[in-house]
């Protein structure tokens, strides 16, 4: 894992000292809320529906056991015993007191963490494939590049006040687990024709009130040119992105309005001007950062232990929640934070500590956070899967549902969020309970729920998406079908009139029933069936009786 150098440690230390002073001045009345608000936001502190919320950055979703234990400690000491893992691989505490936040930041700094740039119109936490460095299907570990981008973008003076927030995601696999096509910039690390590493660069994707799939503006960017090219993109956006209307300020609107080709041409022009300057990445520097992410000391003679145990639940879990590892004899384990009827992404302090123990003992001290609100043990010996499973079962997190209908993404929604119009979590809970018994029969199905148009729950790219709205003061839910956040990225389409809180659960069940009835074989996934059938039979099932 990456370790802070002196510069990292110093800028975090300075930032905490600054924020401690700012909090003190706010509490004493020296700063007004209008003056303080942008300062707290740049340090990850929101005022939500019921209390403050602190969003902590987990760069590219990678945590050590020590860091996870620290998060558990903070949850127990300063919050209410729980943390919430988000769709941006971050962690949110929902109940911190403003007076305690400087102390929390001190605690985080002890384990090389912070909350800087988790809000505000700046370059946010860089996300990455949660299987990075372990997946059998990647060309290289993308996290060194994510770390390089983190260093470049942290406190970048030119890009601290962009027209709007800016999100970058990185993957190194043809199977996109990082949803790069719905990010402001999506980077696909790949092998170039000359044998070197480079990137396909996608720009202008995003969800929110104007969902747009990103455009590919360069297929073969050499790795040495990564930062200069990103800088060129950001410069074009910073100059031309709209600042008069926050709803039209994201880069996706700029790319859409002037066209991808024109945008790419402007980037190219700026890039040619700067590409041979200070941002050229020296091979030695790439190597230095990459060394932090060196593969752990895998067992060179891994036991070919029998995975099977006289336990059907364990067999299901191995089938659903483990993924092929690049190292023979190892597996990637997804820890589902979606127990049936549970709250997506929530973990108690005790659960975090138990997972930290498991990671330390069985996964070379590493944990990952996925944008699907699960945790991952990236390097587990096949021979240890039974022990890991039992450890997870002991804390209620051994649900064998990774990628299934109960593995639901849900934003905090109206239960916590000041922006939300409707609750997301209870809808996820009810759908989970409703579909649990049939989830193996249904197969892969991604249900994503947002409590407002900002789409933190990724409803636009759900196979089944749900958008909470407010209708005459009450919660109402629109249903969308056919989206994907993967390499086949697509935006879901609204089916028709929305539903009440109970009706939306029934509606999802009807969609599932229709799919099961009409799929050609058990192996035809939902998206394939929807693509073949179109929306008509699903709309018929949803609305025919109401006509």
């Amino acid at each position: 894992m990456y370790r802070y150098d002196e510069f990292d440690a110093e800028f975090v230390r300075q930032r905490i000292a600054q924020f401690r002073d700012q909090v003190g001045r706010r509490l004493s009345g020296e700063l007004t809320e209008d003056e303080f608000k942008p300062l707290r936001l740049m340090n990850g502190v929101y005022l939500q529906l019921h209390a403050y919320m602190l969003r902590i950055a987990i760069p590219y979703g990678t945590l050590s056991s020590r860091q996870l234990r620290k998060l558990a400690h903070i949850a127990r000491t300063y919050d209410r015993g729980t943390g919430h893992f988000t769709t941006r691989q971050n962690l949110q505490f929902n109940w911190p007191r403003l007076v305690d936040i400087p102390a929390i930041l001190d605690e985080l700094a002890q384990v090389e963490m912070h909350a800087i740039q988790t809000s505000g119109n700046c370059i946010r936490n860089v996300t990455a494939d949660h299987f990075a460095g372990a997946a059998a299907d990647e060309v290289a570990d993308p996290r060194p590049y994510a770390e390089i981008i983190r260093q470049w973008s942290s406190l970048h003076p030119e890009f601290s006040f962009l027209p709007r927030k800016f999100k970058v995601a990185v993957t190194a696999s043809s199977r996109d687990r990082a949803a790069i096509q719905v990010h402001d910039i999506g980077l696909h690390l790949k092998r170039l024709a000359d044998g070197g590493l480079g990137f396909a660069v996608w720009v202008g994707g995003g969800q929110g009130r104007t969902p747009i799939i990103a455009k590919l503006i360069r297929e073969d960017l050499p790795e040495a040119d990564l930062l200069s090219y990103l800088e060129a993109i950001l410069r074009v956006y910073n100059l031309q992105g709209r600042r008069d209307n926050k709803y039209k300020a994201r880069i996706k609107i700029l790319v859409h309005e002037i066209g991808a080709a024109a945008f790419a041409a402007q980037v190219e022009e700026e890039w040619q001007r700067i590409r041979h300057g200070a941002l050229k990445l020296p091979e030695a520097e790439i190597g230095r950062i990459t060394a932090y992410f060196a593969a752990p000391a895998f067992d060179s003679r891994p036991a070919k232990a029998a995975l099977r145990k006289p336990d059907r639940a364990f067999d299901r879990w191995v089938t659903r929640n483990t993924h092929a590892h690049k190292q023979p004899g190892y597996a990637i384990v997804t820890i589902s934070l979606k127990p049936i009827g549970g709250i997506p992404g929530d973990a108690s302090a005790a659960q975090m500590e138990a997972i930290a123990d498991l990671a330390e003992r069985y996964s070379f001290d590493e944990v990952r956070v996925s944008h699907e609100q699960n945790l991952v043990l990236p390097h587990v010996r096949l021979a240890d899967l039974w022990d890991v499973y039992q450890g997870l079962a002991a804390i209620g997190l051994a649900e064998a549902n990774a990628g299934l209908a109960t593995d639901i993404i849900a934003c905090p929604g109206l239960d916590y969020c000041a922006l939300a119009n409707a609750r997301s979590i209870p809808i996820a809970q009810r759908i989970s309970e409703r579909l649990a018994a049939r989830q193996d029969e249904i197969g892969e199905l991604k249900i994503k729920i947002s409590g407002c148009i900002n789409a933190c729950g990724h409803h636009h790219v759900g196979h089944i998406g749900i958008l909470g709205v407010e209708k005459r003061g009450e919660e109402h839910y629109q249903l969308l079908l056919g989206g994907s956040g993967a390499e086949d990225a697509a935006l879901a389409a609204i089916t028709g009139p929305g539903f009440g809180p109970d009706g939306i659960v029934d509606a999802v069940a009807k969609v599932v029933d229709t799919y099961l009835a009409l799929r050609t074989t058990r192996d035809e996934p939902f998206l394939a069936a929807y693509g073949r059938l179109g929306p008509a039979p699903f709309k018929e099932a949803l609305y025919a009786s109401a006509a």
């Binding site: 001045r25 706010r26 509490l27 004493s28 009345g29 020296e30 700063l31 007004t32 809320e33 209008d34 003056e35 005022l47 939500q48 529906l49 019921h50 209390a51 403050y52 949850a75 127990r76 209410r80 015993g81 729980t82 929902n94 109940w95 007191r97 403003l98 007076v99 009827g341 549970g342 709250i343 929530d346 973990a347 108690s348 302090a349 005790a350 659960q351 209620g396 109206l414 239960d415 916590y416 939300a420 119009n421 409707a422 609750r423 979590i425 209870p426 809970q429 407010e470 003061g473 009450e474 919660e475």
Partner: protein
């Protein structure tokens, strides 16, 4: 502030810990909606707005705003679901793993107390009064101390440059 609904209470978040509070009939900020003072007329609504702006400017609370309520036999009920959730707290707390409710009365105190003025700035206006009338929890008649004050809508204007 937003539009002024006819039957309203004033809510905000407490500065130190962000907890949801309501202005009560004694002019304090309560965590309990049942203790909130209710404004029925435009003048009463305006007085609540004044008090909210004043207390926000003096660093007692953050982001005050009016909430439309219905007065029912069971007590005050916000008309919007959003505000009902905000009053009741997250609807899913029973399912939050490891959730530990705060100890009763765990209130964050500010650095200064007294009449509500937490500001280091000299204040130029008195705190808008909430006085007399049907002074029972849930109802209130207010008399505005500076009803004709042309700066009434900007009680925090003297604080704005204080950074």
């Amino acid at each position: 502030m937003s539009k002024s609904p006819a039957t309203s209470v004033l809510t905000a978040n407490r500065l130190g810990d962000g907890i949801v509070v309501f202005l009560d009939f004694e002019g304090a900020w309560s965590e309990n909606l049942a203790e909130a003072v209710v404004a029925h007329s435009p003048d009463e609504v305006r007085a609540l707005e004044d008090r909210g702006a004043y207390d926000a400017a003096h660093n007692i609370v953050v982001e005050p705003y009016l909430v439309e309520v219905r007065e029912t036999a069971g007590g005050l009920v916000p008309t919007r679901q959003r505000e009902r959730v905000r009053v009741a707290g997250p609807s899913i707390l029973d399912d939050v793993p490891g959730y530990v409710a705060p100890a009763p009365g765990a209130v964050v105190r500010q650095a200064h107390h007294g009449d509500g003025d937490r500001s280091s700035e000299p204040h130029t206006q008195p705190r808008p009064e909430l006085v007399e009338g049907r002074a029972t929890p849930g109802t209130l008649v207010v008399r505005q101390a500076h009803h004709e004050d042309p700066e009434r809508h900007a009680p925090d204007s003297t604080q704005a440059q204080a950074a």
